[in-house]
Structures are given as C-alpha cells and as structure tokens.
C-alpha cells in the first residue's frame, strides 16, 4: 500500500512514478480507435438499413467491416485505453514504477498498434479472419498477442508484486493481479483450442467460454480495478466497505469463468455445462449487486459532486448501466428467455449497453480525469463540450439499448410465429433506422469529446479549476 507516498511532498513523488508519455500515447490511440470502431459500427448499421454507401466494394464489404467493429473495440480501443490508464493508476497505488518504461513500454505501445493494424489489413484486404467472436484476429497473429499479454503481465505485475511484499494489496491490486494471469490464458485458450484441439460442440464450448472470459476476466477486472482506484481518489474518501470489496472480487473470480456456455444455450453442448453456466450467471449477479451497493454507499453524502464533476458522473452512469445489464442478464440467461431472444438484436443491445454504456463510459470518465493532469492543467478545455459529450453519449446509448431490446422481441416472436423470413427484416427496419440515428448521436458525442481532448492538450496555460469543480 502506498502509505509512503501519501505524506507531504507526495505529489512530486507521484509525478516521477508515472510515465506521462505512455499514458498520453495509449489514451490518445484508444480514443482514436474508439472513434474508428464507432464509425465501423455505424457503417454496418447502414447495411442493415439497406443504404450501405459502398456496395460491391470487396474490402469495404459490410461483413468484414463488422469484424473490425468488434475486434477493433477489443484490441484497438479497450486494450489501449486500459493500458494507458493502468500506466497511470498502477504506479500511483503501489508506489513503484512499472517494470520498464522506455524499452518495454515503448515496445508494447508499438506492438499493440501494429497488431491492430495487421488485424485490420488482414480482415479487410486479405480475407483472413477467424470465426471466433471477439477473436477475429487471424490465428497466426494470436501467438503475438499472447506474447504481448505476457509482457503486459511483467510490466504491471512487477510493481504490484513489490507492493504486495510490504503490505496487503488495495482492491485495485487484486483485480489487476488476477487479470494479469487470466488474460494470456484466456486468449490462448479461446484462439487455439477450438482450432487445433477440438471441433464442433467442444469448440463451441471453448469459444463461448472465451467470449465471456475476455469480457469477464480482462475487461471487467481492469475496469473495476480502475473504478476502485479512481472513484475514491476523485471523491477523496475511502470505499464504504472493505468486506464488500472482498465479496465482490472473490464472487467475480469464482463465478465469472463459469458463465461462458450461456452464450450457446439450447445448443448441442452437453446440458450439464449449459445448466452450470445458467446457475453461475444468476449467482454472479449477487456479487455484482454487492459491488454496486459498495459504490453507491461510497457516493452517499457526496452525490452533489456528480453535478459538477463530469468524470465521476461518467463512472456512476456506467455503474448504473452495469447493474442494469447484469440484472437483465440474470433473466435472459434462463433457458425460457433464450427461446425468444437468442440470435436477436436483444443480445446486440445488451452487448452495447455493457461495452459502450459501461466500459466505454468508464474509460472516458477516467481519461477525462487523467488528461488535463497529464498536461499540467486543472480542467478540460471546455466545460460545455464536456457536458455535451456526456449527454450525447448517455442518451445515445440508452436510445440504442431500448431500441435494440424492443427489436429483439419483435424478431424473436416473429421467428417463432413462422412468418416468412423477410417479414422479420421488414419489421426490424424501423428499429434499425433508429439505431443508426442513436449511433450518430454517440459518434457526435465522441467527436465532441475528442475535440475537447485535443483543445486541452494544445491549450496554453490558464485552464484552472473553479473551486467547486475540484470537489
């Protein structure tokens, strides 16, 4: 625990601990990729609307663009953003620098961007994709990604290990330590076992475990770890309950990896695996609720901060979306609900609420907190752009979620009703048009957010906080 740096003169020490360049580079690239994958998603939605602007062009075929949307969101956007924010948070809560900033840090940065660009070229131009959802990277690139993740483990594992030898770790440390072990294992498992050591239903079981584990054992632990760091720092008070933090972490660690097979219910995977996945999924919602209670009780008495502090508002908005997603999941994971909603846009809405609404909002909030500090400023360039982006993103993602959920019900019942297939397409069209409009809102919000970032970075001196905003 970083008791040594919390004393007087700590700020100078903290500054030396963090390599600002690496944070800046990763966060900036993450934001650029966020916009790119958002545009890709929007393009794909135009195909569903029947107004695709590039018909008949091979490398811009909607099916390929869709894979860039998902793979890019994972590796381009989330990994970049998370890595950048870890470069900020890990040294500050452990009190130690990362393993090696200049060589390993630089190499990891270039390696990650290269991996993403190779994926884009391979999928769009070479027709080399892998039919593992969220593992669309061509299979020959996956060993490189695993190697990158092992380096990532050394980079952030070193300071955590050092801190752990002195005193028990803070919550963030638990999540990050476990994630550093899980992620390379998950990526290896999901990309190699279905291809080389199994097929069919067995491969399906591995793939579903992979889809869920990449969310549950990479994205979720990093995101919650960072939340446990940033929320108390911004509010300047500790988490409400240490016991609930423990419960949340160990609940996640035990139940999350068991959830995967719920992606293929009613499939030829043996039923015991399907039942255990349903059971574990319902169980994990209790762990999630305990985490949410902890965060909400931490907010108690300080809720006014949300009015002025946009980063914190992003984080709590995301937390509420997280709980909605998980609550929804406890129901739609059951075999009964799956009869209707499996294969429909309901699932797409669910995925967007968790990936954009929760993890997207969280990293945007955290990045907005970190960004001015990286440039020696106290606030973002424009409060108006900050607020505008927040509301556009929030309303946009809620609109998309509600719209796709409704579309999913329409599609599901239409299919059960044995109407001609084209009916379900025609009935979905209004929902798909509306989804594109929601996408435009979200993209506008992202552009506004990015413009604010750019202006903050290049602004001269003078971005000083009002007393109220620094609450």
């Amino acid at each position: 625990m970083a008791t040594n740096v919390a004393t007087a003169g700590g700020e100078a020490q903290l500054t030396n601990l963090v390599n600002y360049t690496l944070v800046k580079l990763h966060v900036a690239m993450g934001l650029i990729f966020f916009i790119i994958v958002g545009l890709m998603g929007f393009l794909y939605s135009l195909q569903l609307d029947g107004i695709y602007p590039f018909p008949g062009i091979e490398f811009l075929s909607a099916g390929r663009v869709r894979m860039i949307h998902t793979a890019g969101a994972a590796y381009g956007f989330l990994v970049n953003m998370f890595t950048g924010l870890l470069y900020w948070a890990v040294p500050r809560f452990t009190g130690y620098k990362v393993f090696n900033e200049k060589y390993l840090g630089g190499f990891m940065f270039i390696g990650l961007q290269a991996a993403v660009l190779i994926t884009v070229v391979a999928i769009l131009f070479l027709g080399m994709a892998d039919n593992v959802e969220w593992g669309e990277t061509p299979w020959w690139l996956d060993p490189i990604i695993v190697a990158w993740l092992l380096l990532h483990g050394i980079q952030f594992g070193a300071p955590i290990l050092k801190a752990s030898q002195k005193a028990p770790l803070y919550v963030t440390g638990w999540y990050i330590s476990a994630m550093l072990v899980w992620t390379p294992l998950v990526v290896f498992m999901g990309n190699f076992i279905p291809r080389f050591w199994s097929a069919g239903s067995g491969a399906g079981a591995v793939q579903s475990t992979f889809i869920h584990d990449l969310v549950g054992l990479y994205v979720t632990p990093v995101a919650w770890g960072l939340m446990y760091y940033f929320v108390p720092v911004i509010m300047k008070k500790p988490m409400w309950s240490h016991g609930l933090s423990l419960l949340g972490f160990w609940g996640l660690a035990f139940f999350y990896p068991l959830n995967g097979v719920h992606h293929f219910l009613w499939s030829p995977i043996p039923m015991f695996a399907q039942y255990s996945a349903v059971f574990a999924t319902v169980a994990i919602e209790f762990a999630v609720t305990s985490v949410l209670i902890n965060f909400m009780m931490t907010l108690r008495g300080s809720a006014e901060v949300l009015k002025y502090n946009v980063p914190l508002r992003y984080m709590y908005t995301g937390a509420i979306f997280y709980w909605i997603t998980c609550f929804q999941c406890a129901f739609h994971v059951t075999l009964t609900f799956q009869k209707v909603i499996h294969f429909t846009d309901w699932v797409t809405g669910h995925a967007h609420l968790i990936m954009f609404g929760t993890f997207g909002m969280w990293v945007l909030g955290m990045a907005e907190y970190v960004w001015p500090r990286l440039f020696g400023k106290e606030t973002m360039y424009s409060k108006g752009m900050s607020e505008g982006a927040y509301w556009l993103l929030t309303i946009g993602v809620i609109a998309m979620f509600v719209d796709l959920t409704a579309a999913g019900l329409v599609q599901g019942f239409d299919w059960i009703g044995l109407n001609p297939w084209i009916d379900s397409v025609n009935f979905s069209k209004p929902f798909w048009y509306f989804r594109s409009v929601a996408g435009i809102m979200m993209l506008t919000g992202l552009f506004m957010y990015a413009m604010n970032f750019y202006k903050t970075a290049v602004a001269g001196k003078g971005l000083e906080a009002q007393l109220r905003e620094s609450a």
């Binding site: 569903l48 609307d49 029947g50 018909p55 091979e58 075929s61 909607a62 099916g63 390929r64 894979m67 027709g127 039919n131 593992v132 955590i160 290990l161 752990s164 770790l169 440390g173 638990w174 330590s177 550093l180 072990v181 076992i193 279905p194 199994s198 097929a199 069919g200 239903s201 067995g202 491969a203 399906g204 079981a205 793939q207 579903s208 475990t209 423990l246 160990w250 660690a253 035990f254 990896p257 068991l258 995967g260 293929f264 009613w266 499939s267 030829p268 043996p270 695996a273 255990s276 009869k339 294969f343 429909t344 699932v347 797409t348 599609q411 599901g412 059960i416 009703g417 084209i422 397409v425």
Partner: protein, 224 residues
C-alpha cells in the same frame, strides 16, 4: 483475511485454481463427453459425399457441368480431391466475409426452429453434436446473431440455381433483403456471361454442402 489480499494468493487461487476449475466444467468435460464421436477431416467429408452420393455431390457435378470452363480452370475434374478443395476454399471465404455474423448454423430444439429450418419429412432434425464434429467446424460456426436465416439445413431449402443468383444479387431472389451483394465471387466467361470464379465455386459448394448429409435419399429423387 490478510492473505487474501496478497499477490501470490490471488494469482494462485483466483488466477489459476478458479480458472482451471471453470474451464474443466465449461469445456474440458464436454469435450471429454463428446470424445467418442469421430472427428472428420475435409477429405473424410468429401469421401462421404461421394460414397453416399449426397445432394452436395450432385450440386458439385451441376457446377462442373454448367460452369465447365471455370470449373476446369480452377478445380479440374469432379473427384474427391477437387470437392475437398472447393469445401476448404468455400469455408475460408465464408469465415472471411463474416457470413457467420448474420447467419447462424444451429437449429435449436425450441421456438419452432425445426419447422422453419427443415423440410417436413426430409429434414426436420435438431442440430446434434456429430454433425459438427469435423474440420470445417473448428472453430464452430454456430454464430450468435441472425439477420438472415439459419444455414445448417440450407441444402434442403434452396437449390443451386437460386444460390448463384442470390449470391450475386440477393434482391433478385429475395426482394427486400438487406444482404450485401457479392460480385467479387463472379467473373465473366468468354461469352460474357457472369459465372462464379474460383472462390465463388468454393462458396457455392460449401453452402450446398451445409445440411446435405440430412437429405436422404438425394434431392433429385425426392423431388420426382
């Protein structure tokens, strides 16, 4: 309690122990349960199609007859090797185009799916493990989203004529369809006709192979 907050304990218990337990339940045990189903290579699938003279084999011969120039150029003669090659090429591009993002390959035992995706009396079975236990389902192509219909019984639903026209321009056979056109799977022959190229022949063979194992006896016979 203090131990639970230390790096080694977290890494060993949460990172490895829980993870391995979950993987054991989620997929290692299912793979073990399914281990006696023989794993087929593409060459086995091809030999099976020829031996049983399935509809996929008949459709392959149809392609060779109708697009003889292109077929000769890219695949040579109709035999097990060329069929296996066409399946591989087709599967590769089916994956590369992201077909599996909008078309599933799994008929579930619920929601009237056996009625929708099969032909009564010819093929109305639920998806079962052994039909996926082959090289072309590694990784498996079940998919997670349907914009278009399921394809695992496609051989029983549309004939090859329909598939050719649909792949070139989906709206020609399915008015209102929002599937993209795939003109790069076609080329012009000497007379200026638009015919499938190497990838096109592969993709058509692959699509017409999907579910062909369910059609007994062969389609021509059934239709008469």
């Amino acid at each position: 309690m203090g131990k639970m907050e230390r790096f080694p304990f977290i890494v060993l218990v949460a990172g490895l122990l829980f993870f391995l337990f979950a993987d054991f339940v989620s997929w290692a045990l299912p793979i073990y349960v399914l281990k006696d189903i023989p794993m087929k290579k593409v060459s086995d699938l091809s030999a099976e199609a020829k031996a049983k003279n399935t509809s996929a084999w008949a459709d392959f011969e149809w392609i060779a007859r109708n697009y003889s120039e292109q077929f000769k150029k890219y695949y040579g003669d109709v035999n097990e090797e060329s069929f296996a090659k066409a399946l591989k090429v087709g599967h590769r591009w089916y994956v590369a185009e992201g077909c599996w993002n909008c078309h599933s390959q799994m008929v579930r035992p619920v929601s009237n799916e056996t009625l929708r995706f099969g032909i009564q009396g010819v093929s109305n079975t639920v998806s079962y493990p052994s039909e996926f236990q082959n090289e072309l389902q590694a990784p498996v192509l079940w998919g997670t989203k349907r914009v278009g219909p399921d394809l695992i019984r496609e051989a029983a639903v549309h004939n090859i004529d329909w598939q050719v026209a649909h792949l070139y321009n989906p709206e020609s056979t399915s008015p209102g369809s929002n599937m993209p056109r795939y003109p790069w799977y076609f080329e012009k022959d000497e007379k200026g006709n638009i015919v499938p190229n190497e990838r096109g022949i592969g993709l058509l063979t692959y699509i017409m192979w999907l579910g062909s194992w369910e059609i007994k006896p062969t389609k021509e016979w059934a239709l008469k």
